[in-house]
């Protein structure tokens, strides 16, 4: 037996250079300081993504992406398929938790100024992953073809239509026509299970390779920090976090399985209080609050442009924050990040606490 084991090891070694990987993992160190807690959120994102992929693949066994069968197939999964309720609930709940954790990971990296050279591309790839996962959320939300998702998609794509020059064409492209229809469902499905996973895997691969090769960033002002080995110390701590998340997700899915909702009726009037998924609500409420016109420009247009500009600035922050690049504190950028964070929290809170605001 030992001979077979050795032979297999040698076979793999000659093809994959496993010893090099093991050596790299053995040497790899992770800084440990009072803020190293935030490092774990990247690993949690990866863990939740893996859950998304696995549960998504299982859902594909029964889900049918057509207007006539989408809602029915979800209902079938939830009521008839063995553990279908668990798979779908885990998929939906972890999708939401994942977006939340990505936001935490991004803001923690922002405030720790982890985007400093040479990690600009790590930051940009991370930002692109946030955009991709928001697109995952938006496209996945419509797939059950229920009343809430149908009208939320209508509201969401109306926002896209506001973008100057390309807005209308973009909206038509997203919807596959002038309205949310069967064509939209097919497109969103195509986007959700083919296009977005392909891009995500590519960018996530780059992101992880960059994190592994460049290592974790130490916050400004922390000179010589204590270090722990990536394997097994950091990985074990990461795994502990993953287990806690798994237990929480399990409990949530048993007590609050993700609801199916009534089937979408395109001819029905928009139900009261319709709103998008929680991670889009800060934009939604802003659009409700913005005046019809600011000077001579349409308020909605200005808000959408503002969000796009804000996103662009956030993505390019490694090149804008020159003080941080020189290992100096940059309170202006910290204040800017804080303002954005407070804004997102306040607007999201207002959506749920004062739903009639701006009507």
């Amino acid at each position: 037996m030992a001979g077979l084991g050795e032979k297999t090891k040698a076979y793999l070694e000659s093809r994959f250079e496993i010893s090099a990987i093991r050596e790299f993992a053995g040497k790899k160190k992770v800084p440990e300081h009072k803020r190293s807690f935030w490092y774990f959120f990247g690993g949690i994102c990866l863990f939740l993504f893996i859950i998304q992929v696995l549960t998504g693949i299982l859902l594909l066994l029964y889900y049918t992406p057509s207007v006539d069968a989408a809602h029915e197939s979800i209902q079938f999964i939830m009521s008839q398929v063995k553990f279908g309720w668990l798979i779908r609930s885990v998929h939906s709940w972890t999708a939401n938790i994942l977006v939340g954790v990505i936001f935490i990971h991004m803001f923690s990296s922002f405030f720790l100024k982890a985007y400093r050279p040479p990690r600009e591309l790590t930051w940009i790839s991370g930002f692109l992953l946030l955009v991709l996962f928001l697109a995952f959320g938006f496209s996945g939300y419509l797939l059950p073809w229920n009343e809430l998702s149908f009208f939320a998609t209508r509201v969401g794509t109306d926002i896209a239509g506001v973008i100057p020059v390309v807005g209308k064409a973009l909206k038509t492209f997203i919807l596959g026509g002038p309205e949310v229809s069967g064509a939209t469902l097919t497109r969103f499905f195509w986007l959700h299970v083919a296009v977005l996973p392909a891009f995500s895997l590519l960018i996530m691969g780059i992101h992880i390779i960059l994190v592994q090769t460049l290592g974790m960033s130490k916050p400004i002002g922390i000179g010589e920090a204590k270090e722990i080995s990536f394997f097994p110390d950091f990985i074990l701590k990461d795994s502990l976090g993953w287990l806690i998340i798994l237990a929480v997700v399990g409990a949530v899915c048993v007590f609050l399985p993700w609801e199916v909702g009534p089937k979408a009726d395109p001819f029905a009037s928009t139900p009261l209080g319709i709103k998008p998924e929680w991670y889009f609500t800060f934009m939604f409420t802003t659009l409700k609050l913005v005046p019809a016109h600011i000077f001579t420009i349409e308020g909605e247009l200005l808000a959408v442009m503002g969000f796009m500009l804000g996103g662009l600035l956030l993505m390019l922050v490694p090149f804008l924050d020159r003080r941080a690049a020189r290992e100096k504190r940059s309170p202006v950028f910290t204040a800017f990040g804080l303002a954005v964070l407070v804004y997102i929290i306040v607007m999201t809170g207002l959506t749920y606490l004062a739903p009639d605001i701006g009507k």
Binding site: Q75, S79, L86, L236, L243, A247, V254, F255, L256, P257
Partner: protein, 425 residues
Amino acid sequence: MPVKSSLREMKRRSRLLLSALLFMSMPLAVSAQKNSCVECHLQMDDALKAPAEGFAADVHKQFGLGCEDCHGGNPAQDDVELAKDRSFKGSPERAKIPEFCGSCHSDSATMRKFNPNLRVDQLALYWTSRHGQLLKEGDASGAVCTDCHGVHGIQPSNFPKSQVFPWNIPQTCGRCHSNAETMKAYGISVRQVDDYKQSVHARALFEKKDLSAPACNDCHGNHGAAPPEVTSIAFVCRQCHSSAGDLFSRSPHKEAFDSLGMSECEACHGNHKIISPADEMLAGGQNDICLQCHDAGTEPHQTGLEIKRRIDDFVASSEAAGKLLASAESKGIEVSEAKFKLQDSLSSLVLARNLTHGLSLPEIETSLGDGAKILAEVMVSGEAALREAKFRRSGLIIATAFIILLALALYLKIRDLQRSPKHQR
């Protein structure tokens, strides 16, 4: 040359003639738009001003008719004496109003010019009505056209503000029929409108805005309004409730009611105050209407009790199934299909309740039996859903315990590693 000159002269004269004609016709054109009736009446006191104000929104005005078309006279004249010329008819006497309106509304040739769809038998029907008969007998308080349709400011009956639009009819009829002073002479109760407002029909009309729900005219008639005879009440109700009517006709009650000269539907459901039918109206219920004719303990009453018992049993099973599904749903189990089935079973109950009009216990049993089979399936689904909920919770406890154990082991390992001399370095 002389020919040319005469031609030129002719042209000149023609131009002069044309100009003169145009000049002479101008006052005529102006006077055609003038309406001195409205101009003067708008400056008068309330009672005389009201017709001019109201006529602005009148359906007759919309069809191009003016004051003179009903009242005669010449509205083109400024002078009152000249305006009230020989054709002036003034206001018709109350007793003559039906004929006054009927002069156009009963003339198909006239009505065709304005609205070919409008019936022209209103006057003929009116004379058959109780109102028309009273007028014929010389009682001028009998309702005439204007009492229901208004005078100036008449709206088409399909216009929601019209006095004869379905949800305004009870109020329109009630102006006289709820007035004790007016009704005293006729010995008619004044409770009808108040009673009607408490009825299931009024709820449908006023709350659900269901225009197909009956108002006064749907049972009593419009222009030929009269109280329905005892024998005709059933036919009136059957206009909408045909199924219940058919069942009743097949029931033993039909012959008994006919021989006793009793009205059919009204005997149990009442007339104006027709409340929502309930199981409590059945034998043994709180509002047992069978007792009106049958003594307790008699065979017919016993049959009634049996019918109610079957229905009550089904209702109880249905409620139990509903509670079971609600409980499973509150535990997070998807039970929409079972809920749909429960809804389906209720159609058997609706059918059985209707079948009570036929008094056939076997038919009721068959209908409830069909529903009971569906209910049994719902109960099975509900119980399975509850078992599933229990299974999920047990599974969660086991899985969580396993995860906690694993997490604990990991924690201990991490602590071990942190204490190791390698880590200390």
